[in-house]
Amino acid sequence: MTDAVALRPARTIPLSAALVLIPLAAAIVGLVIRYLAYAATVDDASLASFADGLCRWDCSWYVHLAEVGYDGFPTPKLSNGGNWAFFPLYPLIVGVLIKLTALPTMVVATATSIALSIGAVRIAWPLLGKNLLAYTLFAVFLLAGPFSIYFTTFYTEVLFLFLTVCVFAALKDRRYLLAGLFAAGLSATRIVGVFIVFAILIEAWLDHRERGGTFRDFIPAVFRRPELLLSFALAPLGLFAYMAFLHFKMGDALAFQHVQRAWGRPFGLPPAFVWNALLSAPKEGFIPTASQVLGATTILGYVLSIVLLWKRRFGMAAYSLVAITLPLFAGMASMLRFVSGLAPMPLMLCELLGKNRIVFAVALLLMLVGAWYGTVGWLTQYLALV
């Protein structure tokens, strides 16, 4: 009997049904918790205003993108910060669904995000070692956890996580072409998505080694496998398609990068940013500052990456290290969102927490309680959550 099987709780329903019911239940519980937190925090809260009420910060940019599309230059509000900073795939999907359903944008976005989260959980089953406790925690993390706001409103994190899970699930089965297609979507969702190509490359190398290949004959072997070659070529398709669009729309294929200047982000070395964030102690009391929370989250991200390396999941580890480190060159902003939305992070965390029933129970309880505080923090503009 494997450990994974041993850790499965006694069941009276088929596994296939349980794998669907668990994320569904988490989705319902998450909606209830977030609504109660919303009702307790916002004046004149109502069910009708719930979806719109949780749309804060960058969410409004995505709503505009889904409803109107990309602005030209100069922007209608004569702002330096153009919406071409935001990658197109998720707003495009929601925009199409709005047209098809004629429902309010945030209702469509909320439903789509929840559906993608449920899909991500189900697809992640083999990536979680087929451990039902880890699977449950992953479902709760996405749908009813402290950061469930990111995965159930209108942020690109949910599509980014969904596609990342799809890529790694495809790579686990050595289905490179499928992985390449999902990777193409990933690179149209967030800029760091393009670096998933390193994970595909590493998995291809490991596959090559398993077949008895050597370093010297790796490149010829790749050229002899057209599906692998095409997978590599497909991975950045989303990014290049968006760049081509920007060229025709703005005359600047790198507009998404150039516009970052308008946000006045600093530029520096990641260790310095993390160190300064950790030292940013509160002026009074012991509650960590937002900077310290961001710093601690970043450290946790690196620790989980090292655990991934230790567990020989080299593709996930390499991708995580790149996806955590690159945004750090522009400071600590949004690191909590970036780390929690980076699929290998919650996957690894939930796998670790799901190894023991007591730890599982404590983690489950903390996540559910965290959903309340996460929502209240979101609505009261707690900066670490942005």
Partner: protein, 203 residues
């Protein structure tokens, strides 16, 4: 484990890979040859200015003073192309190494005018940071002002007759002594002065 692709599919995969790589090369070519307006290039690409010259109308009545405190926010808004933040209670804050004002009016003008400016320099951690401000009107430098931080400073800058005959004054305030407030603040966030009031008056 996936099976090797059959020959027709393999050929199609090679062809598609080649097409993708060729199209990526084309996009890369576009990245190094942007076709954008000069203002866009200066701010976003070359980064030769921190002030993105936005096409605000500059709506203004000649001979009036515009308040850049909160009470004048509506009147001031169309006169601020770039480089300003606020207004807050103590004025409209200049951000970056230069800021622009635009005044556009319909009244005929042939005589010389005076640019009236009320400003105060910023303080950093309680320390006054006096500022030099170069005043450029319609691309002609007219004055260098020394702005203190202890109390608001009033300046009258003479604008020669003939410089603003088109009914429009594009005023650039350049801040060579702008201050980096935080250790990692980019130049677009540097601080210099707070503008309290400005206007064009008969000389």
């Amino acid at each position: 484990m996936t099976q090797p692709l059959r020959r027709p599919f393999a050929l199609a995969a090679y062809a598609l890979t080649a097409m993708l790589l060729a199209s990526y090369a084309l996009v890369m070519w576009w990245t190094i040859h942007p076709t954008v307006p000069p203002n866009y290039r200066a701010y976003y690409i070359d980064q030769t200015t921190t002030c993105m010259n936005q096409p605000v109308p500059g709506t203004y009545t000649l001979g009036t003073i515009v308040s850049y405190l909160p009470d004048g926010a509506n009147a001031a808004k169309p006169t601020k192309p770039c480089g300003w933040e606020g207004p807050t209670g103590d004025g409209t804050h200049a951000v970056g190494t230069s800021s622009r004002l635009r005044f556009a009016w319909s009244e005929p003008t042939t005589a010389a005018l005076t640019l009236s400016l009320d400003m105060i320099a910023i303080s950093k951690a309680g320390t006054p940071m006096p500022q030099s401000v170069d005043v450029v009107v319609n691309e002609q430098k007219l004055a260098t002002l020394k702005v203190g931080a202890d109390a608001p400073n009033h300046f009258d800058v003479a604008i020669p007759a003939g410089l603003v005959t088109e009914g429009r004054a594009d005023v650039v305030l350049e801040f060579p002594d702008a201050v980096q407030m935080g250790p990692t603040d980019p130049a677009t966030r540097w601080r210099s002065i707070k503008l309290l009031a400005a206007g064009l008056l008969p000389a």
